[in-house]
Amino acid sequence: MSAREVLERVGWRVVGKPVPRHDAWDKVLARTAYAADWEMPGMLVGKVLRSLHPSARIVRLDTERARSLPGVVAVLTARDVPRNTLWTDVPGQTTEVGPLRAKVHVLAEERVRYQGEPVALVAAESEELAEEALRAIEVEYDPVPGVFDPQEALSPGAPLVHSDSKSNLLARWTVRTGDVRGALARADVVVEGTYRTQFVDHAYLEPEAGVAWVDSDGVLTIRVATQVIEHFRDVADVLGLPHNKVRVIGTYLGGGFGGKEDVTVEVFLGLLAWVTRRPVKMVWTRQESLLARPKRHPFVMRYRTGALRTGELVAQEVELLADAGAYAFLSALVLLYASTTACGPYRVPNVAVDAQVVYTNNPPTSAMRGFGAMQVVFAYEQQMDRLARELGMDPVELRVRNGLRKGDRLPIGQVLETHVALPEVARRAWQALGPAQPPSGPHLRVGRGLACNLQPYGRIVWLHDWASAWVGFEMDGSVLIRAGVPDVGAGQASSLCQIAGEVLGVPLDRVSIHVSDSALTPLAGTTTATRQLMMSGNAVLRAATELREHVLRVAAQLLETTPVELQLDGHEVRTPDGRCVSLVRVLRECARVGVPRSAFATYHAPAGDPIDLDRGGGRVFPDFTYGAHATEVEVDTETGAIRVRRYVACHDVGQAINPQSVEGQIQGGAVMGIGYALMERVILDAGNNQTTSFSTYLIPTSMDVPDVIPLVLESGEGMGPFGARGIGEPPVGPPAAAIANAVYDAVGVRVTELPIRSEAVARALYELAGHNG
């Protein structure tokens, strides 16, 4: 019986219901101990000394004075790090660049490549002493010419960011299908555009933090805000310890969005705690976080799109150039996501994508919600809007006409195996805007825009992803789940409780969960790539289903019937004719006859081998989530100011496990996307970060955004539990394009650079009006 069939039988008790999350109660009652809230006796304060320069040689690094300060317990530089390199492998990298082993030094050796790069670590008895120690470290830098623009970084003679590489090119992907040149020549209409996106920051409210200590069994233990508890291996490798001697306990996060996917404080804390043999706490300031942590990739995207008079797309030629910043991190994979989704949720028979990501002396870029598949939306959805206008077609109809269907192939050759909800999401979102509203005052114009997207959920198939979970009954009939899932605030843990509670017929207040401890919870992989609902959700579903079978088998013997007839319902097991036995009695019977009262399960995602994208290779991702956003904006024709008046975000989530959580993800993602569209910007001046505070790095407030109207469609065809699809990343993609299209609709100005600055709109309007100022 499939999970959905089981559900049909038992009647959807908690799955699909907007039940309050247990972690929400903990949070309002101030019971949640975030990473920075943890204290240990004898705890030291750890701090990082960071480079002031974006590109320099370290001529002298003298820690003598710092070490000698009273109360300073440790001062570490690269020389003190047993193995000073963190590695990331990127499987499937194209051969032009060579198989990529991304690496970054834990602490800078003789060269710094971005402003804020870690140079030294200190641990001291107090915050103030740790600061004194940082001030006492003497560093002499010799600035070296850097390169700050990816296009310049590719030109011959550009300074090499990494002197051991032939050029600044870090990775390249190409996608080829059909004959683009020929098709563009045959097209009735060709629209061209160049689009630029900016560096942005995750800007979660909780800065990076953790506490590390060596436990009584000699295990280096790190309690940290992370999306990836499996960084325990990185810590072990740096220290030269066996992997089984390092433990990471993940806390509930104050937001992650991809920014706590790469290592943050873990390795520094591990080093300091191991060297001092005392607990060490490290909390980054907001300024440090904004200065030095990896950002979202800025892209330059050149598009040529060809269509027939009928609106049928025939070709898309795409060039992508992304800024990797000073170190590789996950840049190659981010670029892969961008390359493989560059044509959006549309059927395009002839495609050429050429994508490059390049080293510069800007801050490194890496994972952030949307992971390369969101920047391209800004380009392909404005291309669609241009096409619709060129052809005089309705924007919704043009998209529906070209929308992919189940069974179609993406340009990379991947066949879409589940429902593609493009027509529904586009129509529903557009309709939900309702009747047009007049402008609210003089000098204002109103316009509407639409943008659709597809976003992968689940990791790249050649990573052979898996997740495990353990589900068990206690003797009193309560349920316990153990799952190595970091909960980043999106309700991951709570959704697993719902799934187990549903299958086992136990009310949610009788379900408890332990998450995110690399020593004690079965490993479930990372809370990234919108994968956890599918991965851990399926693992918990399997374990709970197996457990249910054990218990019903025993109950059936007690009730002298067959398991299939039985209902597990709260505290008892019932037959259709009303006979019942208490759950506790059944569990005791399990114990007596030796039937397990727990189950452990591992879910393996669809897997495959790396493909050659050049030849339309095939599958890259397990599946996709489809969405459409529609917005109505008001543009001040004098100042260029843009106000988003109405905003609708529609996604096919397959099956909402918790509709309230799903809506929250959609609303939050859309607002993050609105920030990306209108105000967010890491401003760099020759690699120097000008926006290292929350008064200069602007994220939207409640006054800047309307209430996002979430429309949740449920096709039931996702690969997650009960047919769910992931919804963490998808909503961040469409807003920038939807708003840009609405601005064009309002005032006839096509903005191709993010953020959409009022000044740019005002300037364009001034030029449109024929002034030559």
Binding site: T639, Y766, G773
Partner: protein, 291 residues
């Protein structure tokens, strides 16, 4: 993080403040609401040796004296925003105070602190120009009364001498047939204005502009009074054409700088737009206001 250590004195009188400041020399700072100073200290951009806390001084008074509103330097933004008396007698001040920062800043930030900090993009310094405020100070050589125009000298710089304290602000109460308005453009709600304009106009019985004050923020190192624009309006009946011309003049008279937030040309353009809107709204209010 937090500020680096400093010596702290809790002042008990104005004389006490002056004395502390004199002994503290160049590295002494006054603590009022702290909403501009403490962030700078937290970010280590300011590291005073001595902090003189004036919050216990009896300077939170607020009263009418004939045609003037007298406001102690420690009146909080929230009071300016919400006090019925300020709203009735000095609506421009309460409208501007409501635009400052966020609720938390408004709960503690003070009128005197905002003026003495003299951020060129801040609302209250700009409004003090529009209101032609009189600023009363106390210092080692006694008391002075400065016009707000003399007060703002440069970027975060005022006419306050070392060891001098701003104690009181006096503004004219709203007259019959007087209108007012503040317009601002910010990159985000509640943020410092990229450009802002504050206007106050008074019409005579024939509907001519008797008094007009137009002040601008975000267009230079200090808040600016747009005198050229005022001159074009005063003594004549106000109509959209004149307002337009005056606003263009306001934009022509400033020398804004380019920065990461806005180019000089855009600031100039915003000045024209916001000045025109502020003047238009102020005039509409003046015409509505029955004696």
């Amino acid at each position: 993080m937090g500020p680096r250590p400093f010596r702290y004195e809790r002042a008990t009188s104005v004389a006490d403040v002056i004395d502390c400041l004199r002994r503290g020399g160049a590295n002494a700072r006054v603590l009022a609401g702290g909403q501009s100073l403490v962030p700078l200290m937290n970010l280590r951009l300011v590291e005073p040796e001595l902090l003189v806390d004036i919050n216990d001084l009896p300077l939170a008074h607020l009263r009418r004296e004939n045609d003037a509103m007298v406001l102690g330097a420690l009146v909080r933004h929230q009071t300016l925003e919400e006090s019925e008396e300020v709203r009735a007698l000095c609506p421009l001040l309460s409208e501007a105070a409501g635009l400052v920062g966020n609720v938390r800043v408004r709960a503690l930030g003070t009128l005197g602190g905002s003026l003495a900090h003299a951020d060129p993009a801040a609302e209250l310094p700009m409004v003090s120009l529009a209101l032609d405020a009189q600023l009363v100070t106390e210092g080692p050589t006694g008391s002075r009364t400065l016009r707000s125009e003399e007060f703002f000298r440069g970027y975060l710089t005022t006419a306050l001498e070392p060891a001098e304290l701003l104690t009181e602000v006096r503004v004219a109460v709203r007259q019959p047939r007087e209108g007012w308005a503040v317009e601002e453009f910010a990159l985000r709600q509640g943020d410092f204005a990229v450009v802002a304009a504050a206007a106050r106009v008074q019409l005579n019985d024939e509907g001519r502009v008797d008094v007009v004050r137009l002040a601008l923020a975000g267009v230079g190192p200090t808040p600016v009074r747009a005198q050229g624009a005022e001159d074009q309006l005063v003594g004549a009946p106000a109509n959209p054409r004149r307002v337009e011309a005056a606003s263009r003049r306001a934009a022509a008279d400033i020398q804004p700088e380019s920065d990461v937030h806005a180019s000089a040309a855009y600031r100039r353009h915003l000045t024209y737009v916001l000045a025109r809107r502020a003047l238009t709204r102020a005039l509409a209010r003046a015409e509505e206001a029955t004696p």
